[in-house]
Amino acid sequence: MSVTRETVAKIASLARIRMGEDELDRMVPELNSILDWVEQLGEVDVSGVEPMTAVIPQQLRLRDDVVDADPLTGGGVRDKVLANAPAAEHGFFGVPKVIE
């Protein structure tokens, strides 16, 4: 299966990466050579095989139902959360206007 320029442009838009014409021209053959190469997986007989979901079998844990049991992942850290924001105002993340 090979991808067209239009497909790559569509994927780039889904991935929210702006791409110029030159970049798209470069990406199309690169992605196609990678996709051609992974095609070989199609020849493996996987009948009756379940896809792997966990590399080491483990049970998912439930944490104790305690507020702020671990201060590193608890609440009350608004200013720390906002500390690296490119635009933070009044205790919120700032973004361009989303409603016209």
């Binding site: 299966m1 991935a15 990466i17 997986l41 996987v46 095989v49 080491i56 483990q58």
Partner: protein, 495 residues
């Protein structure tokens, strides 16, 4: 003071504890080496000499006060710039995280500081740990301290993605460094630079605070210059962490105290599928040498088969990009990192502009591949198929463990290549990980140990792969190789 920088983790720790030298003297010596190599090797993105001194002074004060000292007390290390470090820029070698200063510390780095280690700086790497040569960093290539013998001054790749770590340890800028391994990013750079590195069983080291690439594969581990140093440092890094849902809830064994190079009664498997076309003749010779060494250590050598080996790499290059495309969706120019806001842009345009400016080519390539293989209509053909093949690869190893205790293989198909040699051909670059990826897909512990030099005077590594949770078996076989290889070569200083 130059001889201190020749010492490893254990020698420094014991020397500090025994009063042969102070932790401060050690930190000063390594700080000086880091500064002197900054321009030529570019192994560090940020040096933190003050952090190293501060930790050293605390160790010296604790010792003077008669307090107990940690496993890594007085040992300054390099921290791969994929670990969040509180108050110190953490970039994953990307532009999109340039200037990001975490408000918290990763579990692994915190454990190392708690054990008495100090930080010399944040080490360069391939951008978001995607690469095998350290040529995708936004902060420039890392140069390997090694050069081919015979006067060829080509700058060689230190391997990747932990290329700053491997270069720094080989060049004696630090006695040890953290690495992370998704498809070989500890083992391949260790092999390229003549050092030792172990990727433990998936889940041994917490992923909390480690910039995520492919979460079902990412695993941290130590890189150092001996098996014992790796064992000591891994003890300090490993351990259950409730903040990582895939963290193993198991006690951390005393690997270093239990090291034993006597392999009597142990069976070493030699996978016939790893004898691949295109593998360098000298690599195959070093593999044969490794087999002879392990026999000499008392092990029985048995031929085994891992029939799906050939499919590991293509499966990896579906699974890892798929996970990366999901993980890297968080870089949106809103919460942290770079924001590109063209005049009049709306929110969606801001996302796209930010990500276009903030990610390098290899990262974009992998995000696009990942987005494609996860997209409607292609998900089953690519992603589900790859996860089924991954299950078969894990099953191959399960069957092999009926016949052997550890597996011996080369770490890489060639010795280090020159910077620029493969950077324009993504597929050729990917093939470098052909021997390291299978163990990653199966979550198994695996290490690279230096075996010797090739005819160009460059290091070659041997890889030991073990059963899940059996880091001890891997370390023991690694030690048997280390004792017989007697690898003492080091790069001649040109930087």
């Amino acid at each position: 003071m130059s001889e201190i920088t020749e010492l490893g983790v254990k020698a420094i720790r014991d020397g500090v504890a025994g009063g042969e030298f102070t932790a401060r003297e050690v930190a000063e010596a390594f700080n000086a080496n880091v500064a002197a190599a900054a321009e030529a090797l570019n192994a560090f993105i940020v040096a933190t000499p003050d952090k190293a001194m501060e930790a050293a002074e605390k160790v010296d004060a604790d010792r003077a006060a008669g307090k107990p000292l940690g496993k890594m007390a007085g040992v300054p290390i390099g921290m791969k710039d994929l670990f969040a470090t509180q108050g110190v820029q953490t970039t994953a070698a990307s532009h999109i995280l340039e200037g990001f200063v975490p408000e918290y510390e990763s579990t692994v780095s915190q454990k190392l500081w708690d054990a008495g280690a100090g930080m010399l700086g944040k080490l360069n790497l391939d951008q978001f740990a995607m690469g095998s040569s350290n040529e995708t960093s936004y902060f420039g290539n890392v140069a390997s301290p090694w050069r081919r013998s015979g006067g060829d001054n080509a700058v060689l790749a230190p391997g990747g993605s932990s290329g700053g770590s491997s270069a720094a340890v080989a060049a004696r800028l630090c006695p040890a460094a953290t690495g992370t391994d998704t498809g070989g990013s500890i083992r391949q750079p260790a092999a390229f630079t003549g050092i030792t590195g172990i990727k433990p069983t998936y889940g041994r080291c917490s992923r909390w605070g480690v910039v995520a690439f492919a979460s079902s594969l990412d695993q941290a581990g130590p890189m150092a210059r001996s098996v014992e140093d790796c064992a000591i440092m891994l003890e300090a890094m490993a351990g259950f962490d409730p903040k990582d849902s895939t963290s193993l809830d198991l006690p951390v064994p005393e690997w270093s105290a239990s090291l034993d190079a006597d392999l009597k009664g142990k069976k070493v498997g030699i996978p016939r599928e790893y004898r691949m076309e295109g593998t360098d003749e000298e690599i195959l010779q070093s593999w044969d040498q490794g087999i002879a060494w392990l026999k000499d250590a008392g092990a029985d050598v048995v031929d085994i088969t891992l029939p799906h080996t050939k499919y590991a790499l293509p499966a990896y290059y579906i699974i890892a990009p798929a996970e990366a495309s999901s993980n890297l969706a968080r870089y949106d120019g809103v919460r942290y990192g770079l924001r590109e806001l063209p005049e009049g842009a709306n929110l969606q345009e801001m996302y796209a502009a930010t990500r276009a400016a903030g990610f390098g080519d290899e990262v974009k390539r992998r995000i696009l591949i990942g987005t494609y293989v996860l997209s409607a209509g292609f998900y089953d053909a690519y992603y589900t198929q790859a996860q089924k093949v991954r299950a078969l690869i894990a099953r191959d190893f399960e069957k092999a463990w009926a016949e052997c205790d550890v597996i011996l293989a080369p770490t890489t198909p060639t010795a280090a290549f020159a910077l620029g040699d493969k950077v324009d051909d993504p597929l050729a670059m990917y093939l470098n990980d052909v021997f390291s990826v299978p163990a990653s897909l199966a979550g198994l512990p695996a290490m690279s140990v230096p075996a010797g030099l090739n005819s160009d005077g460059l290091p070659l590594g041997l890889q030991v792969i073990g059963k899940a949770f059996d880091e001890q078996g891997v370390l023991n076989a690694g030690l048997a190789i280390e004792q017989r290889a007697g690898f003492t070569a080091k790069p001649e200083k040109w930087w």
